[in-house]
Symmetry: C2
Subunit: 314 residues, 2 copies
């Protein structure tokens, strides 16, 4: 029995064919091309799904789809995605038509959380808060051993929890959101303000031939002892710690799993994060929680495939 | 089949005997007398439980206990209660010894949440956030139709979510907690600072022969058009709205149920609370959530009895 996973991101769409044990039989990826619109996107997706069908035939039993946006899992549609710019897009119906398979749609952070729960933690601890650190910040919740998506599939909007009243401008239009302090766009915004000669900085700390201010460059700078970069990461860790502290008080998870590209800078932000946990007044949730930084870049698409298999009862 | 519910609060302990339909057959209450210690308390409790046993005999199948404090539901013990001043107290073991019945222990806000879910909402919506507004603030979570208590029974510590970075002093020792803005102690602290002649205020707005500054008095003042009191309630609504907004972003519940004594002032704080919800950038969780103010003062003890019956499979 095999399941197809699809992870639709603002930039790339990944596909994978997995069995229940998490073994990957095939992977594909293509540029989402959001500006061309949903119809063109679904056409490309259909081509790949058809190839999967002819390769694996009746072994395929389900499709799981994670999308960066506000998803209605009951109806299998995308309500809205600020990053994709798509609105009220049918997802499960066209995929079902194209494949004849049952299709389950969730927010991408939820699918990454399921992936972390199954692949990273082996379904051991029942309560897992998986945080995706990228341009923005998302969360997926595994509670009492099941994926929790809330009343309308919108649970886990952790990036917009307020950590500073009337604080920094967030991409969502609000102020003081966790994401406005810990999303990669916020970190780069800070870097641009604080680093006097940004061109020299980029030149010094970028990967050769990929000269660009990004979090990889900011990580390399901190590795090399650049104080400004180290401070930006330390402040990010403090902010993330405070946001997580609110979530831990409410949810008391066994595990926090940090995923996404920005989590690769964990060595620079974790000390400040752990310090926030140490000074909490209510001790139990902070003493008992375990924090894991995932190195698996494919939790989203693998999680989607595994979640589809789970929901299909396979 | 009947279940015993016990709600152990800092001031009073309530007991009730209920059937599964929520019909109450007997109620008792006594002063918890926390200063005399757990042994004296358990002695008094035992007397009442014995009376229940002789009245209802084999019809009794379970005991549910809610305690104001950090509870370990697996081991059936109270880890610590700041309000009771009790530490590492066995709860389910002595009750089991005294009654011969299965006993389930949870934080009191969890039991009130279960009571709200069963009695107020008829188990209709699957995801309910029940907020207890009293001296402090607690929360109980019903998620996907079950009581969620987290990894160590500590979930729902909503009173200590931070709403102002470096803000007002909280009873927990921390700063900027929701409770430090919306707990009754915080409201009265504000009143004492802002009302010039507090004796005259108390005299004017208290219930005759019960002259005391409390939230009842503050509510009556707001009813009579006192501007300071109205402002205190409006600010409380704004703070509560911001704290709830963070919780809604994370949990996306179908319902929020407000319980506890302070919820009786809802008419004075709800407009400001609803305003916070209206200006949120992420619309779905705020558009769909329903808010209910419970008038049932016994959700804690009723919920405990019903939860015991539920867990015992009756």
């Amino acid at each position: 029995m095999l399941g197809i996973g699809i992870d639709i991101g603002a930039t790339n769409t990944k596909l994978a064919v997995l069995d229940k044990a998490g073994r990957c039989f095939r992977e594909e990826r293509f540029h989402t091309g959001q500006s061309a619109g949903p119809a063109v996107f679904l056409g490309r997706l259909g081509g790949i799904l058809k190839a999967f069908k002819s390769a694996y035939g009746k072994k395929l039993v389900s499709v799981g789809v994670g999308i960066a946006g506000d998803v209605d899992p009951e109806k299998g549609l995308l309500r809205f995605s600020p990053n994709l710019g798509w609105k009220r897009m049918e997802v499960s119906a066209p995929i079902k038509r194209m494949t004849g398979l049952r299709c389950f749609v969730e927010n991408d952070a939820n699918m990454a959380a399921w992936g972390a729960y199954v692949l990273e933690l082996g379904r051991g601890p029942g309560n897992v808060l998986a945080i995706t650190l990228g341009t923005g910040i998302g969360a997926g919740l595994i509670l009492d051993g099941g994926l929790y998506h809330g009343a309308t599939g919108s649970a886990g909007e952790a990036g917009h929890i307020k950590i500073v009243s009337g604080g920094r401008q967030c991409n969502c239009g609000g102020c003081g959101c966790l994401e406005a302090y810990c999303g990669s766009y916020a970190l780069l915004r800070e870097a641009k303000v604080r680093i006097p000669d940004i061109a020299a900085f980029v030149n010094k700390y970028s990967v050769p031939n990929r000269e660009k201010l990004n979090t990889v460059c900011l990580t390399k700078a901190a590795d090399s002892g650049n104080k400004t970069a180290a401070n930006i990461w330390a402040e990010m860790g403090d902010s993330l710690g405070r946001g997580l502290a609110d979530m831990l008080l409410l949810l008391n998870p066994d595990y926090v799993v940090l995923t996404g590209g920005v989590s690769r800078a964990a060595r620079h932000f974790m000390p400040a994060l752990r310090k926030v946990f140490r000074v909490q007044q209510l001790k139990t949730p902070f003493r008992t929680v375990k924090i894991k930084v995932s190195k698996n870049a494919d939790l989203g698409v693998y999680g989607a495939a595994l979640f589809g298999l789970e929901k299909a009862g396979k």
